[in-house]
């Protein structure tokens, strides 16, 4: 990564029929950097990608390689739209070859298909590929022109874990070779794994930007130590006497802001009080905690076996204007590290 700015937005603004999609977004992405953009559905992620790629108008300054977004050298851009649906009756090889043919120079189609793990299905019609394979074929269309900047709007939606990890490895190697990657995702695991820096978009505003570690320190909240068991309630007072902040839950005690060095003291306090417990869990805050805190979203539902639905606020159906389009909720791949049910956050 170097200091050359590849992607730049200054005070980007966009409204759809009175609904604010971008509200003064400013950011810079440097060459070779992987920038992850997170936020609820309808937060403005796709709108920002469109504005930066010049495929939708927006107010403010939007630049790629120092040129206005719509006037930049298109051969240097690779784009994977969120709900991209290429021609269904082309084989994967034909599809990638088609997009490669739109550029003066392009990579060998078979190499690109190998990169995304589709070499064995190269001669299958796109419409007959599985969901994950389709998405990989779409990613291939964004790679075929060997771009210098890659915009990937939820690239791993529908891809199985092995394929996802393979794609992450590919993106890592692209970034190492100097390709700038601008990535949107609902998977905190993906963003935490890939992104050098993360921006969190909420209601069109970029409310936080930093490395994943910086965001966790700044916005993730304290680490938690959970003591679980049917009789752990008796341990609340001894722990408080030992100086811990304790919340009493159902069959559990939650100790906030506990450092690893203090764990021994907590265990000793429980032992001295004769409290029996079944499990001890120490949890550091994650990017997901940052997301939930900054977006104000919570998962308050409980899952009842046999019930038809999970109750509570669902980020995918938050009712906010959804620029991700119809079906946006449907393509929400969920968060691999979603909070467990029955935990009030």
């Amino acid at each position: 990564m170097n200091d050359a700015t590849v992607v730049r937005a200054v005070d980007a603004r966009k409204s759809y029929d009175g609904t604010v999609a971008l509200d003064g977004v400013s950011l810079d992405v440097r060459e070779g950097e992987v920038f992850g953009l997170i936020g609820p559905n309808g937060a403005g992620k796709t709108t920002l990608v469109r504005a930066l790629t010049g495929t939708a108008d927006a107010e403010g300054t939007l630049e790629l390689f120092g040129d206005a977004a719509g006037d930049s050298d298109r051969s240097r851009i690779g784009l994977l739209p969120q709900e991209f649906g290429p021609p269904g009756r082309l084989t994967a090889r034909e599809l990638v070859g088609y997009y490669g043919g739109l550029y003066e120079e392009s990579r060998r189609v078979d190499d690109v298909l190998t990169d995304v793990g589709l070499a064995d299905d190269a001669d299958t019609w796109y419409e007959n590929l599985s969901g994950g394979q389709k998405r990989r074929a779409c990613v291939a269309t964004a790679l075929v022109n060997d771009p210098d900047v890659l915009f990937l709007d939820e690239p791993t939606t529908g891809i199985d874990p092995a394929g996802r990890r393979a794609l992450w490895g590919l993106l890592d190697s692209l970034a190492d070779s100097g390709v700038t990657v601008f990535l949107t995702s609902h998977s905190m695991e993906e963003v935490e794994r890939l992104a050098d820096r993360v921006g969190l978009l909420r209601d069109g505003e970029l409310v936080a930007v930093g490395t994943p570690a910086e965001l966790v320190v700044e916005h993730g909240g304290p680490a938690r130590f959970v003591v679980a068991g049917p009789d752990v309630g008796a341990g609340a007072d001894p722990l408080r006497d030992a100086g811990f902040a304790v919340e009493v839950g159902t069959d559990e005690l939650v100790l906030g802001d506990v450092t690893p060095a203090e764990l021994g003291d907590a265990v000793t306090a429980l032992a001295d009080a004769g409290v029996d417990y079944e499990s001890l869990t120490w949890t550091e805050p994650t990017l997901e905690d940052v997301y939930l805190r900054l977006t104000g979203e919570t998962f308050e539902g409980t899952f009842t076996p046999g019930a038809s639905a999970v109750e509570g606020d669902d980020a995918a159906t938050d009712g906010a204007p959804d620029e991700d389009g119809p079906g946006g909720a449907g393509v929400d791949d969920g968060d691999a590290s979603a909070p467990p049910a029955e935990v009030d956050r």
């Binding site: 010049g54 495929t55 298109r74 739209p81 709900e83 290429p86 082309l90 599809l95 088609y98 043919g101």
Partner: protein, 259 residues
């Protein structure tokens, strides 16, 4: 060369996509053939009689060809734009060097090929099953540019309809609404003497009229009308060419770019 490469890539992809949709291929060719069979074989012409189909069989060849050059480009280009929009393909294409004009040219080339074959079938069927007597001469080669230019023209119009409609259903409804009046009011199946006097100037407003009159001048008889109605094959071809350029340019500008 780069432009050629782009247009070739788009053309090849569009051709493959079309040819692999079997029902689309079938009905593209079946619809005009059905029309010939219904009107040319079942209804038949009654030369010297009154009303519709009162002229010799060869008089109606431009009408049958007009059906092909009119309906197919309108619905195919319009639907293609709707499909592209549904799949966010224009959003992706906007980040490639392919221009809107190149996109429309590529899809127009596919239509010229498809409709060229369909026109050949219609021509053959009309001469075979209706007994239409077509004078054979080198002038018949003018049918090639007539068909090609008409396809270019209506591909441009189809792009405008595709842009204006917000769904594939909307495109089909819009293209039918445009095509049906044009088909019957462009000196094709309905001869001008069946229309009220005051309406005749409106016939000259339809671009299909110049296709129809020009093809008829080549395949049936020299025009005997006054003013624009009396223009010969080359004159109609020239008018059609100008209108094709204008419609293509407007259509290219109408092709969506991005979202």
């Amino acid at each position: 060369m780069t432009r050629t490469r782009r247009i070739r890539a788009e053309t090849v992809a569009a051709t493959r996509s079309f040819l692999r949709r079997r029902t689309a291929v079938f009905f593209t060719f079946f619809f005009p053939l059905l029309l010939v069979l219904i009107f040319g074989v079942l209804v038949r012409t009654q030369p010297g009689g009154g009303g519709l189909f009162a002229r010799p069989d060869a008089y109606y060849l431009p009408g049958y060809l007009a059906t092909v050059v009119l309906f197919t480009p309108l619905s195919r280009i319009g639907s293609e734009i709707a499909r592209h929009r549904d799949g966010h393909r224009f959003e992706k294409l906007a980040t490639t060097p392919l221009t809107r004009g190149e996109w429309l040219l590529a899809h127009t080339l596919v239509n010229v090929g498809v409709i060229g074959v369909a026109s050949l079938l219609v021509f053959g069927l009309v001469t075979l099953v209706t007994g239409a007597e077509i004078p054979v001469s080198g002038d018949l080669l003018l049918l090639v540019p007539f068909v090609a230019l008409a396809v270019v023209l209506f591909c441009g119009v189809g792009a405008v309809l595709g842009r204006a409609s917000d769904s594939q259903d909307g495109v089909i409804a819009a293209s039918n609404s445009v095509a049906l009046p044009l088909l019957f009011l462009s000196d094709t199946f309905v001869s001008p003497d069946l229309l009220p006097e005051w309406f005749l100037p409106a016939v000259n407003l339809s671009p299909l009229t110049y296709f129809s009159r020009g093809v008829r001048a080549v395949t049936f008889a020299a025009p005997d009308g006054a003013g624009l109605a009396g223009v010969g094959a080359v004159g109609n071809l020239a008018i059609l060419a100008v209108l094709s350029v204008v419609c293509f340019a407007v259509g290219a500008a109408a092709v969506p770019r991005g979202e």
